[in-house]
Protein backbone atom coordinates (compact mmCIF):
# COMPACT_ATOMS: atom_id res chain seq x y z
CA UNK A 1 0.00 0.00 0.00
CA UNK A 2 2.78 2.37 -0.75
CA UNK A 3 1.24 3.84 -3.89
CA UNK A 4 1.11 7.59 -3.75
CA UNK A 5 -2.63 7.78 -4.30
CA UNK A 6 -5.49 8.81 -2.09
CA UNK A 7 -7.85 5.84 -1.66
CA UNK A 8 -11.40 6.61 -2.69
CA UNK A 9 -13.99 5.47 -0.13
CA UNK A 10 -17.21 5.73 -2.10
CA UNK A 11 -18.91 2.50 -1.15
CA UNK A 12 -18.70 -0.12 1.58
CA UNK A 13 -16.56 -2.46 -0.51
CA UNK A 14 -13.90 0.27 -0.83
CA UNK A 15 -13.34 0.22 2.91
CA UNK A 16 -10.70 -1.90 4.59
CA UNK A 17 -12.05 -4.07 7.43
CA UNK A 18 -10.35 -2.06 10.15
CA UNK A 19 -10.01 1.71 10.46
CA UNK A 20 -6.54 1.64 8.90
CA UNK A 21 -5.46 4.59 6.81
CA UNK A 22 -3.75 3.20 3.78
CA UNK A 23 -0.47 4.99 3.26
CA UNK A 24 -1.96 8.04 4.93
CA UNK A 25 1.46 9.56 5.46
CA UNK A 26 2.10 9.51 1.74
CA UNK A 27 -1.13 10.93 0.41
CA UNK A 28 -2.24 13.07 3.31
CA UNK A 29 0.21 15.91 2.70
CA UNK A 30 -0.04 18.77 5.17
CA UNK A 31 2.03 21.52 3.55
CA UNK A 32 -1.11 23.64 3.11
CA UNK A 33 -1.41 23.94 6.91
CA UNK A 34 1.71 26.15 6.95
CA UNK A 35 1.84 29.95 6.64
CA UNK A 36 5.67 30.16 6.74
CA UNK A 37 8.48 27.70 6.33
CA UNK A 38 11.55 26.95 8.43
CA UNK A 39 14.84 27.24 6.53
CA UNK A 40 18.05 25.85 8.00
CA UNK A 41 21.31 27.77 7.59
CA UNK A 42 23.96 25.07 7.24
CA UNK A 43 26.79 27.44 8.17
CA UNK A 44 25.32 28.09 11.64
CA UNK A 45 24.22 24.46 12.28
CA UNK A 46 26.37 22.57 14.82
CA UNK A 47 24.70 19.19 14.10
CA UNK A 48 23.24 18.81 17.62
CA UNK A 49 20.08 17.13 16.27
CA UNK A 50 17.71 19.05 18.53
CA UNK A 51 15.47 20.15 15.64
CA UNK A 52 15.18 16.53 14.49
CA UNK A 53 14.31 15.35 18.03
CA UNK A 54 11.71 18.05 18.65
CA UNK A 55 9.87 18.00 15.33
CA UNK A 56 6.48 16.47 16.24
CA UNK A 57 5.64 15.42 12.70
CA UNK A 58 8.48 14.21 12.15
CA UNK A 59 9.35 16.22 9.05
CA UNK A 60 13.04 16.88 9.74
CA UNK A 61 15.61 14.27 8.72
CA UNK A 62 18.93 13.93 10.58
CA UNK A 63 21.19 14.70 7.63
CA UNK A 64 24.11 17.11 8.01
CA UNK A 65 22.84 19.76 7.97
CA UNK A 66 19.27 18.55 8.65
CA UNK A 67 16.72 18.65 5.84
CA UNK A 68 13.04 19.56 6.10
CA UNK A 69 10.33 17.60 4.28
CA UNK A 70 8.16 20.50 3.13
CA UNK A 71 5.37 18.14 2.01
CA UNK A 72 4.61 17.46 5.65
CA UNK A 73 6.00 20.38 7.69
CA UNK A 74 2.95 22.09 9.24
CA UNK A 75 4.89 25.20 10.25
CA UNK A 76 4.60 24.84 14.02
CA UNK A 77 7.90 26.65 14.55
CA UNK A 78 9.18 24.41 17.33
CA UNK A 79 12.48 23.81 15.51
CA UNK A 80 13.00 27.56 15.19
CA UNK A 81 12.53 28.24 18.89
CA UNK A 82 14.58 25.22 20.02
CA UNK A 83 17.66 25.65 17.78
CA UNK A 84 20.53 26.68 20.14
CA UNK A 85 22.44 28.57 17.45
CA UNK A 86 19.43 30.30 15.83
CA UNK A 87 20.30 28.55 12.57
CA UNK A 88 16.65 28.15 11.52
CA UNK A 89 14.75 31.12 10.22
CA UNK A 90 11.08 31.77 9.52
CA UNK A 91 10.64 32.42 5.79
CA UNK A 92 7.44 33.97 4.47
CA UNK A 93 5.55 31.78 2.02
CA UNK A 94 2.99 34.23 0.71
CA UNK A 95 2.07 32.86 -2.67
Amino acid sequence: MTDDKKVELNKVSDYPEMPVSLGSMLWNKTSSWRNFKPVIDGTKCIGCGICWKFCPEPAIFPTNPPTVDYDFCKGCGICISECPTKAISKVDETR
Binding site: M1, Y15, P19, S21
Partner: protein, 384 residues
Protein backbone atom coordinates in the same frame (compact mmCIF):
# COMPACT_ATOMS: atom_id res chain seq x y z
CA UNK B 1 -4.02 -38.47 22.33
CA UNK B 2 -6.58 -38.80 25.12
CA UNK B 3 -5.88 -37.39 28.56
CA UNK B 4 -7.87 -36.66 31.70
CA UNK B 5 -7.76 -32.93 32.39
CA UNK B 6 -9.83 -30.10 33.82
CA UNK B 7 -11.47 -27.41 31.69
CA UNK B 8 -8.83 -24.82 32.49
CA UNK B 9 -6.09 -27.07 31.13
CA UNK B 10 -8.25 -27.95 28.12
CA UNK B 11 -8.26 -24.22 27.32
CA UNK B 12 -4.46 -23.99 27.80
CA UNK B 13 -3.83 -26.98 25.55
CA UNK B 14 -6.30 -25.54 23.04
CA UNK B 15 -4.16 -22.40 22.77
CA UNK B 16 -0.98 -24.49 22.50
CA UNK B 17 -2.47 -26.76 19.83
CA UNK B 18 -3.67 -23.70 17.87
CA UNK B 19 0.01 -22.67 17.61
CA UNK B 20 -0.53 -19.43 19.51
CA UNK B 21 2.64 -17.37 19.53
CA UNK B 22 1.85 -14.76 22.14
CA UNK B 23 0.01 -14.89 25.48
CA UNK B 24 -0.48 -11.89 27.74
CA UNK B 25 -2.27 -12.39 31.05
CA UNK B 26 -2.80 -11.02 34.50
CA UNK B 27 -1.81 -13.80 36.90
CA UNK B 28 -3.82 -13.05 40.06
CA UNK B 29 -7.48 -13.49 41.13
CA UNK B 30 -9.86 -13.85 39.33
CA UNK B 31 -7.40 -15.51 36.98
CA UNK B 32 -7.64 -19.27 36.64
CA UNK B 33 -5.29 -22.16 35.99
CA UNK B 34 -5.56 -21.51 32.24
CA UNK B 35 -2.65 -19.09 32.24
CA UNK B 36 -0.72 -20.86 35.00
CA UNK B 37 -0.58 -23.91 32.73
CA UNK B 38 0.33 -21.78 29.71
CA UNK B 39 3.21 -20.11 31.56
CA UNK B 40 4.42 -23.59 32.52
CA UNK B 41 4.16 -24.88 28.94
CA UNK B 42 6.09 -21.86 27.65
CA UNK B 43 8.73 -22.05 30.42
CA UNK B 44 9.24 -25.78 29.82
CA UNK B 45 9.75 -25.15 26.11
CA UNK B 46 6.74 -27.30 25.17
CA UNK B 47 5.00 -24.30 23.66
CA UNK B 48 6.82 -22.01 21.25
CA UNK B 49 5.40 -18.67 22.38
CA UNK B 50 6.15 -15.53 24.33
CA UNK B 51 4.32 -15.17 27.66
CA UNK B 52 3.86 -11.66 29.09
CA UNK B 53 2.77 -11.27 32.68
CA UNK B 54 1.04 -7.91 32.88
CA UNK B 55 -0.41 -5.76 35.65
CA UNK B 56 -4.11 -5.98 34.79
CA UNK B 57 -6.61 -7.62 32.48
CA UNK B 58 -6.93 -4.31 30.66
CA UNK B 59 -3.21 -4.43 29.95
CA UNK B 60 -3.44 -8.11 28.96
CA UNK B 61 -5.92 -7.35 26.21
CA UNK B 62 -4.02 -4.21 25.22
CA UNK B 63 -0.83 -6.26 24.84
CA UNK B 64 -2.68 -8.87 22.78
CA UNK B 65 -4.03 -6.09 20.55
CA UNK B 66 -0.48 -4.85 19.94
CA UNK B 67 0.86 -8.31 19.14
CA UNK B 68 -2.12 -9.24 16.98
CA UNK B 69 -1.77 -5.96 15.04
CA UNK B 70 1.83 -7.03 14.34
CA UNK B 71 0.46 -10.20 12.75
CA UNK B 72 1.02 -12.62 15.63
CA UNK B 73 -1.58 -15.18 16.78
CA UNK B 74 -2.48 -14.27 20.37
CA UNK B 75 -4.45 -15.66 23.30
CA UNK B 76 -5.46 -14.59 26.77
CA UNK B 77 -7.76 -15.83 29.50
CA UNK B 78 -9.72 -14.24 32.27
CA UNK B 79 -12.86 -14.45 34.36
CA UNK B 80 -15.60 -12.33 36.00
CA UNK B 81 -14.25 -8.94 37.19
CA UNK B 82 -11.18 -9.44 35.01
CA UNK B 83 -13.33 -9.57 31.89
CA UNK B 84 -15.20 -6.49 33.06
CA UNK B 85 -11.94 -4.60 33.48
CA UNK B 86 -11.09 -5.56 29.90
CA UNK B 87 -14.31 -4.06 28.56
CA UNK B 88 -12.83 -0.94 26.98
CA UNK B 89 -10.13 -2.84 25.12
CA UNK B 90 -12.54 -5.61 24.09
CA UNK B 91 -14.17 -2.94 21.91
CA UNK B 92 -10.74 -1.96 20.55
CA UNK B 93 -9.99 -5.54 19.57
CA UNK B 94 -13.33 -5.98 17.84
CA UNK B 95 -13.52 -2.67 15.94
CA UNK B 96 -9.81 -3.00 15.17
CA UNK B 97 -10.87 -6.31 13.52
CA UNK B 98 -8.21 -8.29 15.34
CA UNK B 99 -8.97 -12.03 15.54
CA UNK B 100 -7.83 -12.51 19.13
CA UNK B 101 -9.15 -15.53 21.03
CA UNK B 102 -9.98 -15.29 24.72
CA UNK B 103 -11.01 -18.03 27.13
CA UNK B 104 -13.36 -16.73 29.78
CA UNK B 105 -14.25 -18.81 32.81
CA UNK B 106 -17.86 -17.82 33.46
CA UNK B 107 -18.10 -16.61 37.04
CA UNK B 108 -20.62 -14.49 38.92
CA UNK B 109 -19.91 -10.80 39.26
CA UNK B 110 -19.22 -9.24 42.68
CA UNK B 111 -20.50 -8.16 45.12
CA UNK B 112 -21.22 -10.51 46.92
CA UNK B 113 -17.85 -11.87 46.14
CA UNK B 114 -18.26 -15.09 44.18
CA UNK B 115 -16.09 -17.56 42.33
CA UNK B 116 -19.00 -19.68 41.12
CA UNK B 117 -20.51 -20.35 37.71
CA UNK B 118 -22.69 -17.63 36.18
CA UNK B 119 -22.64 -16.07 32.72
CA UNK B 120 -23.16 -12.49 33.87
CA UNK B 121 -19.55 -11.55 33.08
CA UNK B 122 -19.65 -12.46 29.40
CA UNK B 123 -23.29 -11.58 28.83
CA UNK B 124 -22.53 -8.05 29.99
CA UNK B 125 -19.91 -7.91 27.19
CA UNK B 126 -22.51 -8.91 24.60
CA UNK B 127 -22.24 -5.69 22.60
CA UNK B 128 -18.46 -5.42 22.38
CA UNK B 129 -18.37 -6.98 18.90
CA UNK B 130 -16.86 -10.27 20.08
CA UNK B 131 -18.16 -13.59 18.89
CA UNK B 132 -19.21 -15.69 21.88
CA UNK B 133 -19.22 -19.47 22.24
CA UNK B 134 -20.50 -21.35 25.32
CA UNK B 135 -18.93 -24.77 25.78
CA UNK B 136 -20.70 -27.77 27.25
CA UNK B 137 -17.73 -29.96 28.17
CA UNK B 138 -13.93 -29.87 28.30
CA UNK B 139 -13.51 -31.45 24.87
CA UNK B 140 -15.64 -28.66 23.44
CA UNK B 141 -13.50 -26.05 25.21
CA UNK B 142 -10.37 -27.47 23.58
CA UNK B 143 -11.92 -27.95 20.13
CA UNK B 144 -13.64 -24.55 20.17
CA UNK B 145 -10.38 -22.69 20.74
CA UNK B 146 -8.77 -24.39 17.76
CA UNK B 147 -11.80 -23.72 15.54
CA UNK B 148 -11.99 -20.15 16.88
CA UNK B 149 -8.74 -19.13 15.18
CA UNK B 150 -9.82 -20.57 11.84
CA UNK B 151 -13.15 -18.73 12.05
CA UNK B 152 -11.85 -15.46 13.48
CA UNK B 153 -8.91 -15.20 11.06
CA UNK B 154 -11.08 -15.74 7.96
CA UNK B 155 -10.53 -12.64 5.78
CA UNK B 156 -14.29 -12.07 5.57
CA UNK B 157 -14.76 -12.38 9.34
CA UNK B 158 -11.80 -10.82 11.19
CA UNK B 159 -13.54 -10.60 14.55
CA UNK B 160 -12.28 -11.71 17.96
CA UNK B 161 -13.84 -14.74 19.62
CA UNK B 162 -14.55 -15.49 23.27
CA UNK B 163 -14.80 -19.12 24.37
CA UNK B 164 -16.77 -19.36 27.60
CA UNK B 165 -16.60 -22.22 30.07
CA UNK B 166 -18.57 -22.58 33.27
CA UNK B 167 -16.57 -22.08 36.46
CA UNK B 168 -16.09 -25.32 38.43
CA UNK B 169 -18.54 -27.37 36.31
CA UNK B 170 -15.83 -27.30 33.64
CA UNK B 171 -12.89 -25.33 34.99
CA UNK B 172 -12.36 -27.64 38.00
CA UNK B 173 -13.90 -30.78 36.54
CA UNK B 174 -11.61 -33.43 35.09
CA UNK B 175 -12.82 -35.17 31.96
CA UNK B 176 -11.33 -37.07 29.05
CA UNK B 177 -10.00 -34.72 26.39
CA UNK B 178 -8.68 -35.95 23.05
CA UNK B 179 -5.74 -33.72 22.04
CA UNK B 180 -5.00 -33.30 18.35
CA UNK B 181 -1.55 -34.00 16.87
CA UNK B 182 0.42 -30.99 15.68
CA UNK B 183 0.70 -32.31 12.13
CA UNK B 184 -3.09 -32.61 11.89
CA UNK B 185 -3.55 -29.11 13.30
CA UNK B 186 -1.24 -27.77 10.61
CA UNK B 187 -3.50 -29.33 7.98
CA UNK B 188 -6.60 -27.80 9.57
CA UNK B 189 -5.41 -24.37 10.63
CA UNK B 190 -3.40 -22.28 8.15
CA UNK B 191 -0.85 -19.75 9.45
CA UNK B 192 -2.23 -16.32 10.31
CA UNK B 193 -1.54 -13.87 7.51
CA UNK B 194 -3.28 -10.53 8.04
CA UNK B 195 -3.75 -8.12 5.17
CA UNK B 196 -2.53 -5.19 7.24
CA UNK B 197 -0.05 -5.38 10.04
CA UNK B 198 2.32 -3.11 11.91
CA UNK B 199 5.31 -3.06 9.62
CA UNK B 200 7.81 -0.19 9.32
CA UNK B 201 8.45 -0.89 5.66
CA UNK B 202 4.73 -0.63 4.83
CA UNK B 203 3.44 2.09 7.11
CA UNK B 204 -0.27 2.49 7.87
CA UNK B 205 -2.06 4.47 10.53
CA UNK B 206 -4.13 2.05 12.67
CA UNK B 207 -7.39 2.90 14.42
CA UNK B 208 -7.15 6.53 13.37
CA UNK B 209 -9.70 9.28 13.88
CA UNK B 210 -12.79 8.24 11.92
CA UNK B 211 -15.32 10.90 10.99
CA UNK B 212 -19.09 10.39 10.66
CA UNK B 213 -18.37 10.07 6.95
CA UNK B 214 -16.74 6.70 7.54
CA UNK B 215 -17.58 5.28 11.01
CA UNK B 216 -21.04 4.15 9.89
CA UNK B 217 -19.61 2.12 7.02
CA UNK B 218 -17.15 0.40 9.37
CA UNK B 219 -20.03 -0.52 11.70
CA UNK B 220 -21.97 -1.86 8.72
CA UNK B 221 -18.93 -3.91 7.75
CA UNK B 222 -18.93 -5.44 11.24
CA UNK B 223 -22.57 -6.37 10.71
CA UNK B 224 -21.66 -8.08 7.42
CA UNK B 225 -18.75 -9.85 9.12
CA UNK B 226 -21.02 -11.15 11.90
CA UNK B 227 -23.45 -12.47 9.27
CA UNK B 228 -20.55 -14.08 7.43
CA UNK B 229 -19.26 -15.52 10.70
CA UNK B 230 -22.44 -17.59 11.08
CA UNK B 231 -21.65 -19.25 7.77
CA UNK B 232 -17.98 -19.69 8.64
CA UNK B 233 -18.75 -21.22 12.03
CA UNK B 234 -20.91 -23.83 10.30
CA UNK B 235 -18.35 -24.48 7.54
CA UNK B 236 -15.44 -24.77 9.95
CA UNK B 237 -17.56 -27.09 12.12
CA UNK B 238 -18.18 -29.37 9.14
CA UNK B 239 -14.49 -29.36 8.21
CA UNK B 240 -13.55 -30.09 11.82
CA UNK B 241 -15.95 -33.02 11.94
CA UNK B 242 -14.50 -34.46 8.73
CA UNK B 243 -10.99 -34.36 10.16
CA UNK B 244 -11.54 -35.11 13.81
CA UNK B 245 -14.99 -36.69 14.04
CA UNK B 246 -16.60 -34.26 16.47
CA UNK B 247 -19.49 -32.06 15.31
CA UNK B 248 -20.04 -28.46 16.39
CA UNK B 249 -22.48 -25.97 14.94
CA UNK B 250 -24.22 -22.77 15.95
CA UNK B 251 -26.82 -24.79 17.84
CA UNK B 252 -27.35 -28.43 18.71
CA UNK B 253 -30.77 -30.06 18.75
CA UNK B 254 -31.53 -33.05 20.93
CA UNK B 255 -34.77 -35.02 20.47
CA UNK B 256 -36.73 -31.98 19.32
CA UNK B 257 -38.35 -33.42 16.17
CA UNK B 258 -41.53 -34.51 17.97
CA UNK B 259 -41.10 -32.55 21.19
CA UNK B 260 -44.03 -30.59 22.62
CA UNK B 261 -41.81 -28.76 25.07
CA UNK B 262 -38.31 -27.65 24.16
CA UNK B 263 -35.75 -26.50 26.68
CA UNK B 264 -33.30 -23.90 25.37
CA UNK B 265 -30.02 -24.08 27.28
CA UNK B 266 -26.34 -23.17 27.01
CA UNK B 267 -23.06 -24.14 28.66
CA UNK B 268 -22.94 -27.13 31.00
CA UNK B 269 -26.68 -26.91 31.67
CA UNK B 270 -27.15 -28.14 28.08
CA UNK B 271 -25.56 -31.50 28.94
CA UNK B 272 -27.62 -31.93 32.07
CA UNK B 273 -30.70 -30.94 30.04
CA UNK B 274 -30.10 -33.76 27.54
CA UNK B 275 -29.93 -36.17 30.45
CA UNK B 276 -33.19 -34.68 31.78
CA UNK B 277 -34.85 -35.03 28.37
CA UNK B 278 -34.09 -38.77 28.44
CA UNK B 279 -35.49 -39.08 31.97
CA UNK B 280 -38.69 -37.20 31.06
CA UNK B 281 -39.12 -39.22 27.85
CA UNK B 282 -39.08 -42.36 30.01
CA UNK B 283 -42.00 -40.81 31.91
CA UNK B 284 -43.79 -40.33 28.59
CA UNK B 285 -43.23 -36.61 28.26
CA UNK B 286 -42.25 -35.32 24.82
CA UNK B 287 -39.43 -32.99 25.74
CA UNK B 288 -36.39 -31.91 23.73
CA UNK B 289 -33.39 -29.65 24.18
CA UNK B 290 -31.92 -26.95 21.99
CA UNK B 291 -28.39 -25.97 22.96
CA UNK B 292 -27.32 -22.52 21.85
CA UNK B 293 -23.60 -22.87 21.37
CA UNK B 294 -22.92 -19.55 19.70
CA UNK B 295 -24.52 -16.48 21.29
CA UNK B 296 -22.86 -13.89 19.03
CA UNK B 297 -23.48 -13.90 16.13
CA UNK B 298 -26.93 -15.03 17.29
CA UNK B 299 -28.13 -17.95 15.16
CA UNK B 300 -31.70 -16.76 14.69
CA UNK B 301 -32.43 -18.87 11.59
CA UNK B 302 -31.31 -22.09 13.29
CA UNK B 303 -33.18 -21.24 16.50
CA UNK B 304 -36.44 -20.57 14.63
CA UNK B 305 -36.08 -23.72 12.55
CA UNK B 306 -35.44 -25.83 15.65
CA UNK B 307 -38.34 -24.36 17.60
CA UNK B 308 -40.96 -24.26 14.82
CA UNK B 309 -42.82 -27.40 15.93
CA UNK B 310 -42.59 -26.89 19.68
CA UNK B 311 -45.77 -26.08 21.59
CA UNK B 312 -43.90 -24.52 24.48
CA UNK B 313 -40.40 -23.14 24.70
CA UNK B 314 -38.50 -22.76 27.97
CA UNK B 315 -35.31 -20.71 27.96
CA UNK B 316 -32.97 -21.32 30.90
CA UNK B 317 -30.73 -18.37 31.75
CA UNK B 318 -27.75 -18.39 34.08
CA UNK B 319 -27.55 -14.60 33.73
CA UNK B 320 -29.88 -11.68 34.21
CA UNK B 321 -30.34 -8.37 32.44
CA UNK B 322 -31.40 -6.29 35.40
CA UNK B 323 -34.80 -4.75 34.99
CA UNK B 324 -35.96 -7.16 32.31
CA UNK B 325 -35.14 -10.86 31.98
CA UNK B 326 -32.44 -13.36 31.04
CA UNK B 327 -30.41 -12.40 27.98
CA UNK B 328 -30.87 -15.70 26.13
CA UNK B 329 -34.63 -15.44 26.68
CA UNK B 330 -34.70 -11.98 25.12
CA UNK B 331 -32.68 -13.14 22.12
CA UNK B 332 -34.77 -16.27 21.49
CA UNK B 333 -37.99 -14.27 21.72
CA UNK B 334 -36.65 -11.60 19.40
CA UNK B 335 -35.44 -14.19 16.87
CA UNK B 336 -38.84 -15.89 16.80
CA UNK B 337 -40.65 -12.56 16.39
CA UNK B 338 -38.31 -11.59 13.54
CA UNK B 339 -39.35 -14.75 11.70
CA UNK B 340 -43.02 -14.42 12.61
CA UNK B 341 -43.08 -17.50 14.84
CA UNK B 342 -45.39 -17.02 17.84
CA UNK B 343 -45.75 -19.49 20.69
CA UNK B 344 -45.75 -19.62 24.48
CA UNK B 345 -42.31 -18.82 25.85
CA UNK B 346 -41.03 -19.08 29.39
CA UNK B 347 -37.90 -17.47 30.76
CA UNK B 348 -36.48 -19.41 33.67
CA UNK B 349 -33.67 -18.06 35.79
CA UNK B 350 -31.56 -20.90 37.18
CA UNK B 351 -28.07 -21.61 38.42
CA UNK B 352 -27.36 -17.97 39.19
CA UNK B 353 -24.22 -17.48 41.29
CA UNK B 354 -23.17 -21.09 40.77
CA UNK B 355 -26.26 -22.76 42.22
CA UNK B 356 -26.35 -26.34 41.00
CA UNK B 357 -28.71 -27.08 38.12
CA UNK B 358 -29.41 -30.79 38.42
CA UNK B 359 -31.75 -33.01 36.43
CA UNK B 360 -34.13 -32.38 39.35
CA UNK B 361 -33.97 -28.61 38.83
CA UNK B 362 -34.68 -28.99 35.11
CA UNK B 363 -37.60 -31.35 35.77
CA UNK B 364 -39.00 -28.73 38.13
CA UNK B 365 -38.60 -26.11 35.38
CA UNK B 366 -40.48 -28.24 32.85
CA UNK B 367 -43.25 -28.96 35.40
CA UNK B 368 -43.56 -25.25 36.15
CA UNK B 369 -44.02 -24.38 32.49
CA UNK B 370 -46.51 -27.21 32.01
CA UNK B 371 -48.63 -25.95 34.87
CA UNK B 372 -50.32 -22.59 35.07
CA UNK B 373 -48.52 -19.80 33.23
CA UNK B 374 -45.67 -18.62 35.40
CA UNK B 375 -44.66 -14.99 35.49
CA UNK B 376 -41.71 -14.17 33.23
CA UNK B 377 -38.96 -14.27 34.22
CA UNK B 378 -39.43 -17.00 36.79
CA UNK B 379 -36.67 -17.53 39.36
CA UNK B 380 -36.64 -21.25 39.91
CA UNK B 381 -35.84 -22.42 43.42
CA UNK B 382 -35.50 -18.96 44.90
CA UNK B 383 -36.11 -19.05 48.68
CA UNK B 384 -39.08 -16.74 48.99
Amino acid sequence: MKQVMNGDFAASYGAMSALVKYVAAYPITPQTLVVEKLSELVADGEMDAVFSKVESEHSAMAACIGAEAAGIRTFTATSSQGLLLMCEVLHWAARGRLPIVLANVNRAVAPGWSIWADAQDSISQRDTGWMQVYAEDNQEVYDSIIMAYKIAESPDVLLPMMINLDAFFLSHTSEVVDLIDKKDIEKFLPPYEPKFKLNPSEPHAFNALTSPDHYFELTYKMHLAMEKAKKRITEVGVEFEKMFGRRYGLTESYRIEDADTVLVTFGTIAGTAKETVDLLRKEGKKVGNLKIRVFRPFPQEEVCEALKNAKKVIVVDRDYSYGFEGAFFTEVKSALYNKGVMKPLYGMMAGIGGRDVSTGTLKEIVAKAEGEDPKNPYFIGVKL
